[in-house]
């Protein structure tokens, strides 16, 4: 999808689709947009993926504004259609929290709601045909005078490991915070060291429990990222086929992907609830 006359190979098409719109620090010290894949790579850690941040912010804001407005107009008597929808979502979250979370913390249910809806929305961007939004972004880029071939736009935030890691690190911080708050520093330390093999095997215990602890955010982030990245990849590959067969593959895959979109969001939310529950458990 390029406005220039450059020949687009399958490889470059895929690479172009998988590159984020990156704003960061160039090796020479100045900040700016990366124009090529290698430029983005050179920026290293000191860079932002504007597309990931922008799309996820828009979706999160959309979710919150929508729910906020409906929440403000909540009636006790006869709920309208939208309110019914919101209530069924809230009920669904509440049921899950009640089922898995045994502690007392008014933050867990809203956290689960935010996690679930936000991830569903971010994942759903995968169902928008792969070229539409990047094309729109390219046109906007051209309007601002950029070379269309150098305007990257990766629509699905959850196919960016930064997004999923950012969320799971948030969860990780909460796990540690509530573990210490509920069990005390000593209790948390004891949980990490005196278990599962008793005091004599302390270093081994620490190693096991440490891996266990670190694995939580890492697996949380990589599971979501991996699933969405693979799904997106298949959409991109289908988009490489001749246009007259595309629908016969992209349609079934999209339908199947709806399942993955919801399932991954649900798994993420459920694990967040379970981890919060584990952090609140005093008896081990």
């Amino acid at each position: 999808m390029s406005a220039t006359n450059e020949v687009i190979t399958s490889g470059s098409y895929i690479k172009h689709h998988l590159q984020n719109l990156t704003y960061g620090q160039f090796p020479d010290g100045h900040w700016g947009l990366a124009h090529t894949v290698s430029e983005a790579k050179e920026m290293g850690f000191w860079a932002f993926h504007l597309d990931t941040l922008g799309v996820s912010f828009l979706l999160g804001a959309l979710f919150l504004i929508f729910f906020y407005r409906v929440g403000k107009k909540m009636t006790v008597d006869t709920p309208s259609g939208v309110q019914n929808f919101i209530e069924s979502v809230v009920d669904f979250i509440n049921e899950n929290v009640r089922g898995s979370f045994n502690g007392q913390n008014p933050m867990v249910a809203p956290l689960a709601l935010t996690t679930f809806i936000w991830i569903v929305l971010m994942n759903t961007m995968d169902l928008v045909p792969v070229d539409w939004l990047p094309y729109v972004a390219q046109q906007i880029g051209v309007w601002f005078g950029a070379d269309p071939h150098h305007v990257f736009f990766k629509v699905v935030p959850t196919t960016d490991p930064n997004a999923t890691l950012g969320m799971s690190i948030g969860i990780f911080i909460l796990i540690i915070y509530y573990s210490i708050k509920e069990k005390g520093v000593g209790g948390f330390a004891a949980e990490l060291t005196f278990h599962p093999f008793g005091k004599m095997m302390l270093p081994f215990n620490l190693f096991l429990e440490g891996v266990n602890l670190i694995a939580k955010p890492v697996s949380l982030a990589l599971r979501l990222f991996g699933n969405m990245y693979a799904g997106e990849m298949i959409f991109i590959l289908i988009a490489l086929l001749p246009f007259w067969v595309q629908w016969s593959l992209s349609l079934p895959w999209a339908i199947f992907h709806i399942l993955i979109v919801l399932l991954q969001a649900f798994i993420f939310m459920t694990l967040v609830i379970v981890y919060m529950d584990m952090a609140h458990q005093k008896e081990h």
Binding site: L18, L64, V90, T114, W118
Partner: protein
């Protein structure tokens, strides 16, 4: 696919969204749902109470109906008894009256009869006397026979 500052941007965004959700989105929704739950519960309770009250009232009404039925039966029985008494009394009174009237009439009748008889007797005796005197006018001296005639009239009466 580089790991970079985006991660922290996302983390901050996540924290902000969760905070906003917890502060402004979640409470009103859950509160309204909770309120509705309570309202439905109290409504169901009230309905249950109303039903039991209605049942009680029905039982009470049935009792009252039975009571008034008994009362009505009693009243009717009393009235019947009273009526028959009154009829009996009236009969008695009437019979007495009839007896009295009968006796009166009889007395009157007897009186009249005797009166008439006396009269008749007198008239007959007069007639006889006239006839006899007419027959005996010449032969019998009134003064002589006065005694005999007096005896005769006396025996006739």
């Amino acid at each position: 696919m580089n790991i970079n500052l985006t991660m922290f941007g996302q983390l901050i965004m996540f924290a902000m969204f969760t905070w906003f959700c917890m502060k402004f989105v979640w409470p009103p929704i859950v509160m309204a749902m909770e309120q509705r739950k309570k309202r439905i519960e109290s409504g169901l309770l009230a309905a249950e109470r109303g039903r039991s009250e209605q049942e009680e009232a029905q039982v009470k009404a049935q009792e009252m109906i039975n009571q008034s039925k008994d009362q009505a039966a009693e009243i009717i029985a009393n009235a019947t008894r009273q009526a028959s008494n009154m009829v009996e009394d009236a009969k008695d009174v009437a019979l007495k009256e009839v007896g009295k009237v009968k006796a009166q009439v009889q007395a009157q009748l007897e009186q009249d009869t005797s009166h008439v008889r006396n009269e008749l007797k007198n008239q007959v005796s007069d007639l006889v006397m006239q006839g006899v005197s007419a027959v005996l006018d010449k032969e019998v001296d009134a003064k002589v026979h006065q005694q005999m005639l007096g005896k005769l009239s006396q025996s006739l009466s």
